[in-house]
């Protein structure tokens, strides 16, 4: 399900609109992932606080959203631009790629929460496809 020209346009326009809130939304999405999918906490056992008010979690969520925003700007070559991050996730972090889908769901949920009128079903499908392609590019170096 590769990205059409229309998908790319929709994603870029929507991301432009939401960019002032991406750091906050990233933190919110990560908090929700750790709360609703407790198995994901296994990847963060080195942090002291994994609760909803954790500064570490919120900061990391913002970092992740920043990287996603960067990927939006390089949407024409996700595999190439995510190569280094893919190596990180493959060799160092070794995150099971199934978890990318879980995080994507929480990102989408937070986007709908913060921008209920803009995150229409048409925008939703393009963003869902984008996050799916991003996850694929992120798992590129796994094996």
């Amino acid at each position: 399900m590769s990205l059409s020209g229309k998908d790319k346009t929709v994603v870029k326009a929507f991301w432009d609109k939401v960019s002032p809130k991406t750091a906050e939304m990233g933190g919110e999405a990560l908090v929700r992932m750790l709360t609703a999918y407790p198995q994901t906490k296994t990847y963060f056992s080195h942090w002291s606080d994994l609760g909803p008010d954790s500064a570490q979690v919120k900061k990391h969520g913002a970092t992740i959203m920043g990287a996603i925003g960067d990927a939006v700007s390089k949407i024409d070559d996700l595999t190439g631009s995510l190569s280094k991050l893919s190596e990180l996730h493959a060799f160092k972090l070794r995150v099971d790629p199934a978890n990318f889908r879980i995080l994507a769901h929480n990102i989408i949920l937070v986007l709908a929460m913060y921008f209920p009128n803009d995150f229409t079903p048409e925008v939703h499908v393009s963003v869902d496809k984008f996050l799916q392609n991003l996850a694929l590019a992120l798992s590129e170096r796994y094996r």
């Binding site: 709360t35 609703a36 909803p52 709908a112 929460m113 913060y114 995150f119 079903p121 499908v125």
Partner: protein, 147 residues
């Protein structure tokens, strides 16, 4: 047997008692049909589903969305035996409707997203976790009688 805490029960009843079924039901079904277009295969008799606008204004989808959401009422009233409550519906979805049970999860996700959009920050991470647990049990019950 699924265990529910007092708090989880309260969260579920609270979400459903504040729900506008006629709005949320159709919205969730529409979103599912648009975001996961292969789900349209089950609604060939519903008429025009050619594009997002057609789906959103299709009266059959409106009616059906509301019906599906009301179908969850039974689970809310019988949280300690969702499996038994949905045995018949599971047989229906398997034998008569021939719905791939993977689709239940897609609709459940869309419903969660529509409710999050409606409730905003009122839909706390804890409520999300409980609601998703509830829907996971429903989804499992609906797939139970497939063979």
């Amino acid at each position: 047997m699924v265990e529910w805490t007092e708090q989880e029960r309260n969260i579920i009843t609270s979400i459903f008692s504040n729900l506008d079924y006629d709005d949320v039901g159709p919205k969730a079904l529409c979103r599912c049909l648009i975001v996961y277009p292969w789900t349209q295969r089950y609604f060939a008799s519903f008429g025009n589903l050619y594009n997002a606008d057609a789906i959103k204004t299709n009266p059959n989808i409106q009616t059906h969305g509301t019906r599906v959401l009301h179908g969850l009422d039974r689970a809310v009233k019988n949280m300690d035996n969702i499996k038994g409550t949905y045995a018949e519906l599971s047989v229906l979805h398997s034998e008569k409707l021939h719905v791939d049970p993977d689709n239940f999860k897609l609709l459940a996700d869309c419903l969660t997203i529509v409710i999050a959009a409606k409730m905003g920050s009122g839909f706390t991470p804890e409520m999300q976790a409980t609601f998703q647990k509830f829907l996971a049990v429903v989804v499992s019950a609906l797939g139970r009688q497939y063979h």
